[in-house]
C-alpha cells in the first residue's frame, strides 16, 4: 500500500518560505499568485494491507515523528 502524508504549518503560523516563494513568483510576473504556503510531502510504501490499520498507524507516525503538532498539522492520504 502507498500512503502520502502532508505536513504543513498551521494557519496563522508564519511561513517564511511560502512568503518568499510568493514574493519571488510575483517578481517573475506571476501576478495572479496570492498567498503561498510551503509544506512537506512524505510518500511511504507500507506492507500493511488493511487501510484502516494503515491509517491508524500513519496517524501515530505523524504524532510521534513526522509532524510537530505545536506548529504543524498533517493530512493522510491512502492511495
Amino acid at each position: 500500500m502507498k500512503a502520502r502524508v502532508f505536513v504543513t504549518l498551521k494557519n496563522g503560523v508564519l511561513d517564511p518560505q511560502g512568503k518568499a516563494i510568493g514574493h519571488a513568483l510575483n517578481g517573475l510576473g506571476f501576478e495572479s499568485v496570492g498567498e503561498v504556503r510551503q509544506g512537506k510531502v512524505i510518500d511511504l510504501d507500507l506492507s500493511e494491507t488493511d487501510a484502516a490499520k494503515a491509517k491508524a498507524s500513519l496517524k501515530e507516525m505523524c504524532e510521534k515523528l513526522l509532524a510537530n503538532t505545536v506548529i504543524e498539522k498533517y493530512e493522510i492520504e491512502i492511495r
Partner: protein
Amino acid sequence: MKSAVIVFPASNCDRDAATALEEMTGKKAAMVWHQDSELPDVDLVVLPGGFSYGDYLRCGAMANQSKIMGAIKAHAAKGGAVLGICNGFQVLTESGLLPGALMRNAGLKFVCKPVSLRVEESQSSFTRKYEKGQTVTFPVAHGEGNYYADDETLNRLDGEGRVMFRYQDNPNGSARDIAGILNQKRNVLGLMPHPERVVDPLTGGTDGRKLFESLIEALS
C-alpha cells in the same frame, strides 16, 4: 585584476570575498547589488557564499532570478571569469552556467570544518599556481553541497578535465567526491569550499591564496 562581488539579499560571505580580493589584489572589489542590471568593467565576478533569499525553496533558486544574472551570463559568454563559492556555486548550477545540482548533504546536517582537497587540474585561470595533484585545506560550511549530476555529465566533467577540486574525505556525499567544477569554456568555476576564508595564517591558513594569485596572473 578588477573584480566585483554580487550582493544578494542574505548573501553573507560578500564581505569575506571582498576582503580577500582587496588583500590579494590591492584593489577594492566593486559591490554589486542584485537589482542592478549592469556590471562594472571587471575581469572577475564573484558570487559569494551565504543564504541568498534565506535558502528558501532551494539554495540559489531565487537568486538565479535576480536582475543581475543577465549581466553575469553575458560576462561569462564573453569569456569573463566567474567564481561561485558555496551559495554562489548553487546559484551557478541553478542558472545553468554550470551543470548538475547541489543537494542536501547526505548526512542531513550543516557541516563546517576544514577539509582536505585534491587540486585535480592546474590548467585553468583559477588553479594555475597550484600543482596538479596537490593537497590543500579549505573550510566548508554548508548544508547543501552534495553535488549531483547524471552519469553522462559526470563522465564528461571527468573526461574534459573540468573537475577542479575533489574531497579527500567526502563531507557531504557529493558524486565522485566533487568539490568544484569548471564550465566547458573554463572561465566559470563553482566550488563549495571557501578559498576566501584561507588567505590569512591567523584565521585558518593560507591555502586559498594561490587561487587568487592564479586569477591575478591570468586576468591582469
